[in-house]
């Protein structure tokens, strides 16, 4: 059994917590030992947030160390760069191209770095970038960005978990009334990942 160290990074309020629960649930259903580390409290208020999912035969620490992530799912471009040092050299980075200005940029004290997505594409990092917000909107709700990204991950075959297990886990974690659009979001992400 292979295991995985996953980091989900983004901006507080983007749905990173739900994403970590979907991944944790799928890994559990696939028979792995799992730990999911969440963030609550002050940093949820629009700050930089990171949650960790680790699965494998036996997991001790719930955290992923610098240089130890097999996969980083980033909900926002700048956050992808912030946590890049956690990625293993052969790891995969999946990035939603959306940009959300942090307060120092809004206040004019700093600049949002230009060309993040292009630089990532040109670098030797194994990076997949997509406008997940656009795909989620097509599915009916921009908030499904998290499920689109999980679809991409599943489509890439990361973690060796079956598609149906993923879909079951999505179904267990999202509200019933949003089930259909989330499954659609997952499938669209999956197609994107599997044709990579």
């Amino acid at each position: 059994m292979q295991g995985m160290n996953i980091m989900i990074v983004g901006v507080g309020g983007q749905g990173t917590l739900l994403a970590s629960r979907v991944i944790g649930g799928a890994a559990l259903a696939a028979g792995y030992d799992v730990k999911v580390s969440e963030v609550h409290g002050m940093s949820q208020r629009g700050g930089s947030v990171v949650t960790y999912v680790r699965f494998g035969q036996k997991v001790n620490s719930p955290l992923v160390d610098i240089g130890d992530a097999d996969l980083i799912l980033s909900f926002e471009a700048l956050e992808a760069v912030r946590f890049l040092k956690y990625l293993k050299p052969q790891g995969t980075l999946i990035v939603n191209e959306q940009q959300i200005d942090p307060m120092p940029v809004i206040a004019g004290a700093e600049k949002y770095p230009e060309g993040i997505i292009d630089s990532l594409k040109k670098s030797d990092i194994n990076a997949i970038t997509l406008d997940a917000a656009e795909i989620a909107t097509q599915c009916g709700d921009i908030r499904a960005v998290n499920i689109v990204l999980i679809g991409v991950m599943a489509g890439l075959g990361l973690g060796g978990i079956d598609r149906e297990i993923w879909r079951d886990s999505v179904a267990k974690c999202v509200p019933q009334k949003a089930l259909e659009l989330n499954l659609k979001a997952f499938d669209m992400g999956f197609e994107r990942g599997s044709c990579k």
Partner: protein, 585 residues
């Protein structure tokens, strides 16, 4: 069947399955979900108390009456509950009782990173520390039983990474617990000198009994590996150390007070080098050194923040060189650097009522004694309008202290600012102090109809219980009047002009005054502001007035100002900043 559970959720299940029936708490990250999950059980009574002291007293009362009980709080909450803690140690319990306390190393959402283990030692109350969600479940059940066996409440210590990590839990059937008989026993439960002196002897004997128990209990577990290195640890530190050095020998402590001195000495004698891995203070290390045992610990590990697997690995690499996994990479290639990138600190949400209040505080140049809550973000740019923040309720006492130090004129430029829940928690007594001692301070209660920062819990001012049942609502206006404040004003902070006028008037008068700033948290389900706003670029003069609010939805681009319609909640506060009518729907 195994389920993924947060550590806090596992404590809740362990409490119910262990026969617990009464739970009381004040919310505080990272402890809140213990009680939120207990509230989902129909067969367990649960409540939000006004503060941690009351919550603890409720749990004591329930225990004395024969039920198994729990109170839950964050580390700083235990300071508030310290008064009952030290004396319930003397009275002991009837039904099993747990005081769950969640420390926050790294201060993810706290004002300090105190180590609660010292409370156990100093109050002579035994403490358990689980290392994952399964242990959260098991230890909670165990603590309820041990509490009755040793006639003492048990502290259950979590840290953020235990409380807020999900891992697998297998539950077992609920214990059929019958209320124990309630017997009046004033020698046990009335603590005045004559009785307390006797009970202090009982506490000392109990400590000795627990020390013996510590030697034999499986809560303190030895995992033999290589005898080259022995590691003593507990809680999350065990997980980091185990992952860093799986081949080492471990003494994993589940009962962290009192400590098994013989077991420690025995373990130490059988390993070549002894290491202690613990977060925050050298609590184990000092004790072990006192026993005359050579041990390596904090000279290589920080007292600050959290540990990690890598930190543990790097700190003892030379000692553990012979037992490390061969495939571990010491160096890794850092991915391409992007230079310095902007930080992303937490901010007040779009639509937050506090944003309007702090805009006015800044405009008036007030000295703001602040408090604990979402509004503490008012200290950060762009408002930077908070001068102090120490602990729950401190704003009021500190504003009064400032007045007494610098006089009434200084007080006319000073306010105390705190939320509705924080005012109930420990602001009321501060206000009484102002009135009683002829102070003139102005207190602003930011009433957003909820306890916000911890994730929307009800409190005595919201009119609903933890189970969303309607209940009596504390009337803040009448409460302040009853205390003796004759000037109580209620004002909507989104009415910027009126709010400013009220503040000017109330800070100017030489008597105590309270301004209740009333507008609900924008994240509440019943708050609907409507469609997002946009900038009419033809009318916009790019004066940046709207930017002064520091709303994350209003962004300055090279070609002008725009409103991010994915973030804007339509609150309309910015329209009041624009003199040109350029912000429209």
């Amino acid at each position: 069947m195994k389920r993924l559970m947060l550590g806090n959720e596992a404590v809740a299940h362990g409490f119910r399955d262990g026969g617990g029936t009464v739970a009381s708490a004040y919310p505080g990250t990272p402890s809140t979900e213990i009680t939120e999950n207990i509230a989902k059980f129909d067969d367990v009574y649960s409540e939000w108390a006004p503060n941690e002291k009351v919550a603890t007293e409720v749990a004591i009362g329930a225990s004395v009456a024969g039920a198994r009980s729990i109170c839950a709080m964050k580390h700083v909450g235990l300071n508030v509950a310290a008064d009952p803690l030290f004396t319930v140690s003397y009275t002991g319990v009837n039904g099993g009782m747990i005081i769950a306390v969640a420390d926050d190393p790294g201060m993810h959402s706290s004002q300090n990173e105190q180590d609660s283990r010292y409370y156990a030692r100093s109050a002579h109350v035994p403490m358990l520390e689980p290392a994952d969600s399964q242990e959260c479940y098991d230890f909670t059940r165990e603590a309820l039983k041990l509490s009755e066996r040793f006639d003492t409440p048990f502290l259950l210590r979590l840290t953020t990474r235990i409380a807020h990590s999900q891992s697998l839990v297998e539950t077992s059937p609920r214990e059929d617990y019958k209320l124990k008989e309630y017997k009046k026993d004033f020698r046990k439960y009335v603590m005045m000198p004559g009785m307390a002196k006797v009970r202090h002897q009982v506490v000392e004997k109990r400590d000795n009994d627990l020390r013996e128990f510590a030697e034999e209990t499986e809560l303190n577990r030895i995992e033999w590996g290589s005898r080259e290195v022995g590691i003593i640890c507990s809680g999350i530190a065990y997980q980091y150390a185990k992952e860093a050095y799986p081949k080492a020998s471990f003494l994993k402590l589940g009962l962290v007070y009192p400590l098994p001195e013989k077991k420690i000495a025995d373990f130490a004698s059988q390993v070549k080098t002894l290491i202690v891995v613990e977060e925050l203070e050298p609590y184990f290390e000092d004790h072990i050194k006192k026993l005359g045992i050579k041990v390596i610990g904090k000279e290589r590990l920080t007292l600050q923040g959290e540990l990690s697997t890598n930190m543990v690995r790097n700190s003892f690499a030379d000692i553990c060189a012979d037992i490390v996994e061969e495939d571990y990479r010491q160096d890794f290639k850092q991915p391409a650097a992007f230079g310095n990138i902007p930080q992303r600190p937490p901010v007040m949400c779009p639509g937050c009522p506090h944003r309007a209040a702090f805009f006015v505080f800044k405009k008036l140049g007030l000295t703001v004694c602040g408090d604990i809550g979402c509004y503490t973000l008012g200290a950060l740019p762009p408002s930077e309008a908070m001068d102090t923040c120490v602990c729950m309720g401190a704003s009021i006492g500190m504003a009064h202290g400032m007045e007494k130090a610098r006089g009434k004129d200084f007080a006319k430029k000073t306010i105390a600012v705190l939320g509705d829940s924080t005012f109930i928690h420990s602001g009321i007594t501060g206000l009484i102090d102002i009135v009683y001692n002829k102070g003139v301070s102005t207190v602003v209660i930011l009433d957003n109809s909820i306890t916000g920062m911890t994730g929307h819990q009800h409190n005595p001012t919201t009119g609903f219980t933890i189970k969303n049942e309607p209940t009596k609502q504390v009337d803040l206006e009448k409460l302040c009047e009853a205390i003796g404040v004759s000037r109580v004003r209620i004002c909507d902070p989104f009415d910027l002009k009126e709010f400013e006028k009220v503040l000017r008037e109330e800070t100017a008068v030489e008597e105590p005054s309270v301004v209740i700033s009333q507008r609900p948290c924008a994240l509440l389900k019943n708050v609907h502001y409507g469609a997002p706003y946009a900038i009419d670029t033809e009318k916009c003069k790019k004066c940046s007035s709207c930017m002064r609010l520091g709303c994350p939805a209003i962004v300055k681009k090279d070609d002008g100002i725009m409103i991010n319609n994915a973030l804007c909640c339509g609150c309309g506060l910015c329209t009041k900043m624009c003199a040109f009518g350029a912000i429209v729907r």
